[in-house]
Point group: C2
Chain length 232, copies 2
């Protein structure tokens, strides 16, 4: 078993691990498999950049990736942290064929690229797959609304609480985790300066809500954290 093991298995292996391809029959999976390009990224490497043409549909099979909007004054807003097996899709696919956010590997990662012509033809020819796709982007859209409220109506403790709960529930699936996200990344997820993010984390630590040691996090009191998220 080496890092290329995944390579030989192809799309069928991913189908078993994720529901995103569950609507596709074997012929359709083979069709993707044929066009598929597998790429390895090292931690810190840019996968695609905001403002460049969006020519491929991208599926993450190993590692972790952050997606972020590059805003003003070199400030970024992290939209999501993607884990395997999920696809990373932007709205450009059906609009202007451009990337509207950037994606960067935060761990060593493997992604499969499939050209959009193949992807779009699957959408056109398989209504189940189309509906599944619509559901996926709808869920993402719903999450974006929550993000809107968190970022615009909550104060810093509420925003940091939301970030911690997101990491626990959506990314690492555990109360304790070691993250490869920097403090700057946590700040970019909560729309504040890194100094402020650090201060809030320390407060949470002092209050016994979390345990932090470098990049090791443990959420000790989820209810309290949820309450902070609620009260803003």
């Amino acid at each position: 078993m080496n890092q290329y093991t995944q390579y030989s298995k192809g799309c069928s292996a991913c189908k078993d691990k994720a529901d995103i391809f569950s609507c596709l029959c074997q012929t359709e999976l083979d069709q993707i498999d044929e066009k598929r390009i597998e790429v390895h990224f090292k931690a810190g490497e840019l996968i695609f950049k905001q403002g460049t043409p969006n020519m491929h549909f991208l599926c993450l099979t190993q590692g972790k990736v952050k997606t972020y909007i590059e805003g003003f004054n070199d400030k970024n807003l992290i939209l999501s942290v993607v884990k395997p097996v999920e696809y990373i899709l932007g709205p450009g696919i059906y609009a202007d064929q451009m990337h509207h956010f950037s994606a960067m590997a935060i761990e060593d990662s493997v992604a499969c690229l499939v050209d959009l012509v193949t992807f779009k033809s699957l959408i056109r020819n398989n209504p189940d797959f189309a509906e599944d796709f619509l559901k996926k982007i709808s869920l993402q859209s719903i999450y974006n609304y929550e993000l809107f409220i968190s970022l615009t109506q909550k104060q810093m403790p509420g925003r940091i609480a939301d970030v911690l709960l997101y990491l626990k529930d959506k990314v690492y699936g555990s109360n304790s985790f070691r993250t490869s996200l920097s403090r700057q990344d946590l700040a970019d997820m909560s729309g504040m300066s890194k100094e402020s993010a650090i201060r809030i984390l320390r407060e949470f630590k002092d209050e016994g809500i979390i345990q932090v040691n470098g990049n090791d996090f443990e959420i000790l009191n989820t209810e309290h954290l949820s309450k902070i998220s609620q009260t803003g």
Copy 2:
């Protein structure tokens, strides 16, 4: 000609005015027409409310509607101001069948409701319509990203500039307009208190960038406004 004139014309009339139905053939249009319920709303009336079941696809044929997320402490975040002929669709349609934002008429308005079964069957059976729909929600998603940056990375003058440019370009299509949005609404569009919104508007007026008189607005210096939007 009275307010009900629109009624008798049906969907074909809307097809001429808007591109949203351009992919549908006459049979399909008739199919919608048959299921269509036309409803009149007075200014200030709630069209649908966040947290209630989303059972219909909604198309605005007259008037203006604001869509907004109801957040914490009775604070709202206005997502869009919709004008005819556009549809108002939420991500709930393909996710949990719930409304994730509210919609309220800000002028006397007319909307057509079509049950989701009919709508979804059109999506399934007409790939062109499905692609068109995907394009629509993609464009909305792209706009949401711009909103993210405006709300989280710009200071108040930049945010108010963005609101004014949005009203000019996307809602009223003119440098001068009379709006039915209150100052509170403008504040809810830019994520600030109404007092702050009022103050910034006065500053813009004093600097000769805009002319304001009650609800009558005129943008005198679009370049300056764009520059304020850019510099944050």
